[in-house]
Amino acid sequence: MDLRDVPAPDLTDPLFEPYWSGAAAGKLVLPRCATCQRISWPPRAFCLRCRSASFGWEEHEARGHLFSWTVVGHPTAPGYRDTPYAVGIISLVDPPARVMGTIVDVEPSALEFDLPLVACFARAGSDPEFTLIQWKPAEAADRRE
């Protein structure tokens, strides 16, 4: 899919800047509470478990399992004119951290619950360009690598 028309977020927003910098470097970088070690995603001012306001951003294993998904048949989102495409919720290894991403390199009709997925990184947008994290079946990725 041509991702040039995908709208770039504000890449300088301090709440998300480390996430986007990490993506540009080919990494999944998420905030972890410095006190209780819980992954805090999406980023918050306070840890929802221990109320600490101290977070450290760190690289997270870019693997997970398909938790739920939708197959979009009616295009509505800028940059996503080609349907059908699949958007999934991916369970990461540190619960309850889940992320949303497009699922690529697989027919949407072939998706199933708990499918092992691995992140891949794609250039998107045009003004400015940025790196988008997508997800593909781990088996296909492992076979190729």
Binding site: V6, P7, A8, P9, D10, D13, L15, F16, Y19, W20, W41, P42, L48, F67, S68, W69, T70, V71, V72, G73, H74, T76, A77, P78, G79, Y80, P84, Y85, V87, I89, P95, P96, A97, R98, V99, M100, G101, T102, P108, F113, A124, L132, Q134
Partner: protein, 394 residues
């Protein structure tokens, strides 16, 4: 203008009057004309002059408070508010309006929805989003091609169908029941347009599991509700519609559903627990339910969250016990957002009031005395109200 009455324990506010336009795909009249029609009808129904409206609660994207005051020539509005929890706002407004009128801040509070949601310009997906935490939407959702309620709620729907015994047949029955009810309602956008299972199943994919007929309508029209401490036209012997209780609840967290644990927990569970505890009635006491039906699955999800079923019995309630007229729990007897029209749930309040007055004709629920109305909004905010019939003798 205000009565300055203190709220007494056990005292209720009332749905004093209701009114609406016909719901259509393309209205010839302006939004202001549609609103004026619904407000005038509600005032007449309430037995008051339009000018006696002294409080207004509105909603994003629909006609606003100053427009209502200006176009209706309201002489002395002392209180105005907007509730911003999406489709849960209309039912939450029953709570706010009840507090206003029982606390003496206003006598007749107008709840109004008026919009050209079908013919009025830009497509729904291109309209301004009123969802909370827009930075989450921009950074994590729009960039991956997710920007509509149908897409977001599809994640919940698919997961629920995976974890529990809810199937395509149940979603279909929710859509078909709504359409069957709308065909008994001459004001409904889908009146005279039956829907069968084959057509439902052949609906194009919007956001799987949602097909076309799983999705609510877009509608031109208006509806209005007037809440007061007075029941309205009681001297004429008309039964009163009492607001027996209303509660609102929010998911943890309300602005992001991915991080919820459990994933499928929503605000309505909290609201319903508080409501049933406070009014001394139970789901089994309800003669019907008006459930916010932006999509088919949300009806099932809310019926469960509100206590009408468990995750294990929700399929049975829909398929066997029955949600159509004559079933154990008639749901959305007007046709709902799926088939009457999309008035962001205020039309559900209008229908509940008419059912309790026993004026619904062919779609009347026999002997209706208690009806629950729910709202669902944003990413899982919930509200629920129970309205009760009070006849002169009771």
């Amino acid at each position: 203008m205000t009565s300055g009455r203190a709220r007494r324990s056990g005292e209720h506010a009332y749905v004093r009057g209701v009114g609406n336009t016909r719901y259509t795909k393309k209205a010839d009249r302006t939004v202001e004309e549609l609103a004026a029609h619904a407000i005038s009808a509600a005032a007449e129904d309430a037995g008051i002059q339009v000018g006696e409206i002294d409080g207004i609660i509105v909603y994003h994207g629909h006609i606003g408070t100053d427009e209502v005051i200006s176009h209706m020539g309201l002489p002395d509005v002392g209180l105005r508010a907007i509730i911003d929890i999406g489709g849960a706002s209309a039912v939450s407004a029953l709570q706010m309006a009840s507090l206003y009128v029982l606390g003496g801040a206003a006598e007749n509070v107008l709840l109004i929805r008026a919009m050209k949601g079908s013919s009025g310009g830009r497509r729904k997906a291109e309209r301004k989003s009123h969802l909370p935490s827009q930075h989450i939407r921009r950074n994590l959702e729009y960039v991956v091609g997710c920007n509509t309620p149908s897409q977001r709620y599809a994640f919940l729907c698919r997961r629920y169908m995976h974890e529990y015994d809810l199937t395509r047949a149940h979603l279909a029955e929710i859509a078909l029941a709504a359409r069957a009810h709308a065909n008994l309602n001459p004001d409904a956008q889908m009146y005279g347009r039956p829907l069968d299972l084959e057509t439902y199943l052949s609906g194009r994919v919007i956001a799987e599991p949602y097909l076309l007929y799983d999705c609510c309508l877009e509608t031109d029209g208006a509806c209005a509700v007037i809440v007061s401490a007075q029941p309205g036209r009681e001297r004429e012997g008309r039964p009163a519609v009492a607001i027996l209780g209303t509660a609102e609840g929010h998911a943890d967290p309300p602005d992001d559903f991915l991080s919820r644990d459990p994933f499928l927990a929503v605000g309505l569970e909290k609201a319903a627990r508080r409501l049933w505890d406070s009014i001394g009635l139970a789901p089994e006491d309800m003669d019907a339910a008006m459930v916010y039906d932006c999509f088919t699955f949300e009806v099932a999800h809310q019926l469960e969250a509100a206590g009408f079923a468990t995750p294990d019995t929700i399929g049975r309630l829909i398929a066997e016990d029955g949600i159509r007229l004559g079933g154990r729990l008639p749901v959305n007897t007007h046709g709902g957002l799926l088939s009457e029209g999309h008035m962001v749930g205020l039309n559900h309040v209008v229908e509940a009031a008419r059912q309790l007055r026993h004026t619904c004709g062919a779609r009347q629920v026999d002997g209706a005395r208690h009806i629950a109305v729910t709202g669902w909004g944003n990413l899982g905010d919930g509200s629920i109200s129970v309205l009760g019939r009070q006849s002169g003798s009771s």
